[in-house]
C-alpha cells in the first residue's frame, strides 16, 4: 500500500524566512513524488516533480529514499507563496494512481 504523510496542517512563517514543508511516504518500491499547490480561488496544480529535479518559484524538493521523505523547501518565503500544499506519490506498478497527503496550509505573513 502507498501512503503519504504531511505532519503539519498549518505552517505559519514571516516573509523572508526559510520554509520547509514536510512529506514522508510509505511505498515498497521506487515511487514518483510530486508537490501540488492550490492558491486561493484557484485550481489544484502541479508545482514540481522529483524526476525533473527542477526549481519552481524558488521551491525545491529532494527525494531521500533512506528517510522516505520528499520535503519542500524555499530559502526565502514570499507572501504569494501562501497556499495549500499537497505532497503526492505514484508507484510504478501497473495501473498505479496518485496518492495525496492531507495537505499543509502555508501562511506567509508580512
Amino acid at each position: 500500500a502507498q501512503r503519504v504523510t504531511q505532519p503539519e496542517k498549518l505552517l505559519s512563517v514571516f516573509k523572508g524566512a526559510p520554509v520547509e514543508l514536510k512529506c514522508n511516504y510509505s511505498y515498497s518500491g521506487s515511487p514518483e513524488l510530486f508537490w501540488y499547490v492550490q492558491y486561493s480561488r484557484q485550481r489544484l496544480q502541479l508545482l514540481l516533480r522529483h524526476i525533473s529535479r527542477e526549481s519552481i518559484k524558488g521551491f525545491t524538493a529532494d527525494l531521500n529514499k533512506g528517510e522516505t521523505s520528499f520535503h519542500l523547501k524555499k530559502p526565502f518565503a514570499q507572501e504569494e507563496d501562501s497556499a495549500m500544499y499537497y505532497c503526492a506519490l505514484r508507484g510504478y506498478s501497473g495501473y498505479s494512481t496518485l496518492t495525496f497527503g492531507k495537505g499543509t496550509m502555508l501562511l506567509v505573513s508580512p
Binding site: E32, F34, R43, L44, Q45, L46, R49, I51, Y86, R90, Y92, Y95, S96, T97, L98, T99, F100, G101, K102, G103
Partner: protein, 115 residues
Amino acid sequence: EAGVTQSPTHLIKTRGQQATLRCSPISGHTSVYWYQQALGLGLQFLLWYDEGEERNRGNFPPRFSGRQFPNYSSELNVNALELEDSALYLCASSPNQGQGNEKLFFGSGTQLSVL
C-alpha cells in the same frame, strides 16, 4: 486552451437520492481521474478511467460508480447518498495512460451537499 471542466458547480441532494457529476477533460487527454476532497481528509482517490475503461478504483463502496464516454468525458454517479458523501469532488485529466510521471490537470470541482 480550455481546462478541465466540471458540472454542476454545486449540487444539493437529500439522503438516499442519486447524484451525477460530469467532467470534460482537456482536449487530447484520454485519462480521467475522480477524487473526493472531504473536510479534514485530503484528496481520496475514487476512480480512474482511460480509453473508456476503468483502470483503477479507490477504497469506496460500489454505490460510487462512473463511466467514460467515447469523447473521453466522464460521469461520476453516487447512489443512495449518505450525509458523509458531502464533499468537493475533483476531476483531473492527463494525456496518457498513467505511465508514471505525467502531471494531472484538475478541474474546479463539484461541491456536493447531502442534507
